[in-house]
């Protein structure tokens, strides 16, 4: 089996009222530690509003979902919030299967997330 291994592309931008994390790629057991490292660094700034732009994420497994849940829990400890944006159908389905969709605000666009 040979296949080029892709890492996640994670881009963070800070705005006055939000931090936007744009993620592209597949979030699984191999790549979720990379995402977790970015989240832990972000949490040190005690962000009040984190917008996770998942438009470019075609696959998430339970380790990815768990990493996002951990971000949300830790952000909440500092009264922060995490908003999910642009979930592809299968990614959204995973949040629904695990009933985590009710714990997150989910919007279609980053602009909507800014207003949420």
């Amino acid at each position: 089996m040979s296949e080029r291994q892709q890492n996640l592309d994670i881009r963070t931008s800070r705005e006055p009222d939000a931090t936007i994390v744009k993620i592209s790629g597949e979030v699984d057991l191999r790549t979720s530690p990379q995402l977790r490292d970015v989240f832990l660094e972000l949490l040190e700034t005690k962000p009040q509003r984190v917008i996770l732009d998942l438009t470019g994420v075609g696959y998430v497994d339970s380790s990815g979902v768990g990493t996002i849940v951990e971000l949300k829990r830790r952000a909440m400890q500092d009264n922060g919030t995490v908003i999910l944006v642009g979930l592809q159908a299968r990614v959204r389905s995973l949040f629904e299967i695990t009933r985590l969709d009710k714990f997150f605000t989910i919007t279609a666009t980053v602009d909507e997330a800014r207003q949420a």
Binding site: M1, D28, L29, R30, S62, G66, V69, K72, I97, T98
Partner: protein, 155 residues
């Protein structure tokens, strides 16, 4: 598991193996005329099962053997489907302890088993002869055959 339609893989307990397995299982399922949403379910179930083996069966240690086998089946009650077997040689855990967590609790972890049981028709964990665990899971092509209310262990 054998036969002309069977899939047989042997990988190591390295997360870097997962994307390759997902691609292989996706392509194999496509060749057997599964619908796109069903293929996504099958791929997710295999990925979650392998992740559980790597994390819990082998405590995240790479280099240990895992066997993946899949075959098409014709069940007398449920019709056409597939059966996937995941065999490891790691720790044996109490079968009663294999369960998804309470979904009303917002915390990371413990979701893999719940996801597998949600997307597959039925699952069965057992202690494999010679050590390790074996998971056998089935998915049927027709939803009427799925046991969505009671994801019990029955193949």
């Amino acid at each position: 598991m054998s036969g002309p339609d069977a899939l047989s893989l042997e990988i190591t307990s390295d997360p870097a193996e997962l994307p390759k397995v997902r691609t292989t299982v996706r392509n194999w399922s496509k060749r057997h005329d599964w619908q796109e949403d069903q293929i996504a379910d099958i791929v997710l179930a295999v990925d979650e099962a392998l992740s559980n083996v790597i994390r819990h069966g082998y405590d995240g240690e790479p280099g240990h053997k895992i066997k993946v086998a899949a075959r098409m089946i014709e069940d007398p009650s449920h019709g056409p489907g597939l059966e996937i077997s995941i065999r490891d040689f790691g720790k044996q855990v109490e079968l009663d302890s294999i369960r998804g967590r309470d979904l009303d609790d917002l915390r990371p972890g413990g979701l893999g088993v719940h996801i597998i049981r949600s997307v597959m028709s039925c699952t069965k964990y057992s202690h494999a002869d010679g050590g390790g665990m074996q998971l056998v899971m089935r998915k049927y092509k027709h939803r009427a055959g799925e046991d969505s209310q009671s994801p019990t262990e029955k193949p």
